[in-house]
């Protein structure tokens, strides 16, 4: 069996089990929506414009937040590697910040940026930047010394050494950071949208929640899963293009 087939079968089995549990009356359909209710909910939400547009809004925000986090986080991680003193001084702090639930600072961000995209994107940016910085530094630290020595033995200067040896060697690790960053950005952006009832899929989930439309909430959550899947797949493409192995 192919992995993709196995994956789909697994999800189908889980959906079937949920359906069975609700139909059997063990759980109220008001608490757990039966999967068979989802297509209908999806159609209704599509007609109300609750699907495509919010998904695109959330995707765009996650893209902007991760992009900004990469633009700042990758050079920052690089500096923490090149200047080991800085690396040793700041890595523990950044690691600690990683564990902090930054979303809970949302009142502060609301005051600073208002109830708008600036707030949601900023929260996503912070959440994404931390793993990107940490993983970038880790990736550079893990570059085998012998590869740098090979470059030196071919008379590569410092700049060439970074560009032609250290960076390509670090690409897989950097992409681990980007993947983590993207997931954190998405989760935090959607959480923020939910909290302040603004923006894309998080707002829809919030709206469905207030309307007590449980199937609608599930549709929104499934959409979120789909959006992150699209993004991760795109990232994998980019990685194989940058570094085929």
């Amino acid at each position: 069996m192919k992995p993709a087939t196995a994956g789909i079968l697994g999800v189908a089995a889980a959906a079937l089990a949920m359906e069975g549990v609700v139909r059997a009356g063990w759980v109220s359909p008001l608490v757990v929506a039966p999967p068979s209710a989802l297509p209908e909910a999806f159609r209704r939400m599509w007609d109300e414009g609750f699907i495509l547009h919010p998904a695109l809004i959330t995707l765009a925000q996650a893209f902007a937040a991760t992009g900004a986090a990469a633009a700042i986080g990758i050079p920052w991680g690089y500096v923490l590697w090149r200047r080991p003193v800085l690396g040793e001084a700041y890595t523990p702090w950044i690691g600690a910040a990683f564990a902090a639930p930054t979303v809970l600072l949302f009142p502060l961000f609301l005051v600073l940026f208002g109830r708008g995209y600036a707030t949601t994107i900023f929260v996503g940016f912070i959440a994404a930047a931390i793993p990107i910085v940490l993983k970038t530094r880790e990736a550079f630290v893990a570059v085998p010394k012998v590869l740098l020595d090979v470059g030196r033995s071919f008379n590569l200067g410092e700049g060439g050494l970074v560009r032609r040896v250290a960076f390509p060697a670090a690409v897989p690790g950097i992409f681990t950071g980007l993947r983590l960053g993207l997931i954190y950005a998405l989760v935090n952006i959607i959480g923020m949208e939910f909290l302040i009832d603004f923006g894309g899929l998080g707002r829809i989930a919030s709206e469905m929640y207030f309307r007590f439309e449980i199937p609608g909430m599930y549709v929104a959550i499934l959409l979120i899963v789909l959006v992150s899947w699209i993004f991760l797949a795109a990232l994998t493409r980019l990685e194989t293009w940058l570094r085929p192995r």
Binding site: P144, V146, R152, S153, N155, R164, P168, R245
Partner: protein, 266 residues
């Protein structure tokens, strides 16, 4: 061609410091193949890095064609002990790498890289990545890559150290063939007596820490050679001769390491 003159190197460590090399001198003349042999930890890699210009802060001098070496030298090509092929480049791109760095136009560098892959017996593997090759093939890729740099002196640090004896003998044949074709001046560092005697014109035996020259054994086996030579009586005599010198050093090294273990345990 290469002169190592009275080189001493100390490393500062937590418990005082180690003298890795002490008053070591040796010479390699043009076109010759010299092997350096010594027990593990005797300073072979340190010597390799000093000649290659990657380690500084030593006493004594290293000269290439009469010029003192200061930092990385254009005329020295290094093949490292560790896995050193670039995993993100194909075999062909790996070999072309130093040419790319030197600014050789693409068509020319790929053509030269192809010829070198043929020389090391890797024809047909041009577009494979290192992860798809065996350890011996990766090391040959590394050798071809260093040869592409066209060094006057080829320096190799236990290039086949991680491979099994049979593979090593066969790769030795390839090294002999390359040496015959290119007349490449070579300094090979090894811990294998058979490898040293199979390949070299001269074997430099080093003492265990501090590493200095114990003896120089001339290998006057006729060239061209191949691995069949290991069965000749002359080969056996030379191996025995090198071992008689090396044995005391190797056992000293072993005792040293074991006593360190004891200290660590107690």
């Amino acid at each position: 061609m290469l002169v190592v003159d009275n080189v001493t190197k100390r490393f500062a460590t937590a418990d005082g410091g180690v003298t890795a090399l002490e008053n070591l001198s040796l010479e390699v003349s043009k076109g010759r193949f010299v092997a350096v042999i010594g027990p593990s930890g005797c300073g072979k890699s340190t010597l390799f890095n000093i000649i290659g210009g990657l380690v500084e802060g030593y006493e004594g001098r290293v000269l290439i064609d009469g010029q003192p070496v200061d930092g990385v030298h254009r005329d020295v090509g290094m093949v490292f002990q560790e896995e050193s092929t670039f995993p993100w480049l194909t075999t062909l791109e790996n070999v072309a790498f130093p040419l790319d760095v030197a600014g050789v136009p693409k068509a020319e560098r790929l053509e030269r890289a192809r010829a070198l892959l043929r020389l090391v017996g890797l024809e047909g593997f041009e577009s494979r990545y290192p992860a798809e090759l065996s350890g011996g093939m990766r090391q040959r890729t590394a050798i071809a890559r260093t040869l592409a740099f066209q060094p006057k002196l080829l320096l190799m640090d236990e290039p086949f150290g991680a491979l099994d004896e049979q593979t090593r003998l066969l790769l030795g044949d390839q090294v002999l063939r390359i040496h015959r074709e290119l007349q490449q001046t070579t300094l090979l560092i090894t811990h294998s007596i058979t490898e040293a005697v199979q390949l070299a014109d001269e074997v430099v035996v080093m003492t265990y820490r501090p590493g200095c020259l114990k003896r120089l054994v001339r290998v006057d086996l006729p060239r061209p050679r191949d691995s069949a030579i290991v069965s000749s009586p002359e080969f056996g005599r030379l191996v025995a001769e090198v071992w008689s010198d090396l044995r005391a050093e190797a056992s000293r090294g072993m005792q040293d390491i074991e006593s360190h273990r004891k200290e660590e345990i107690s």
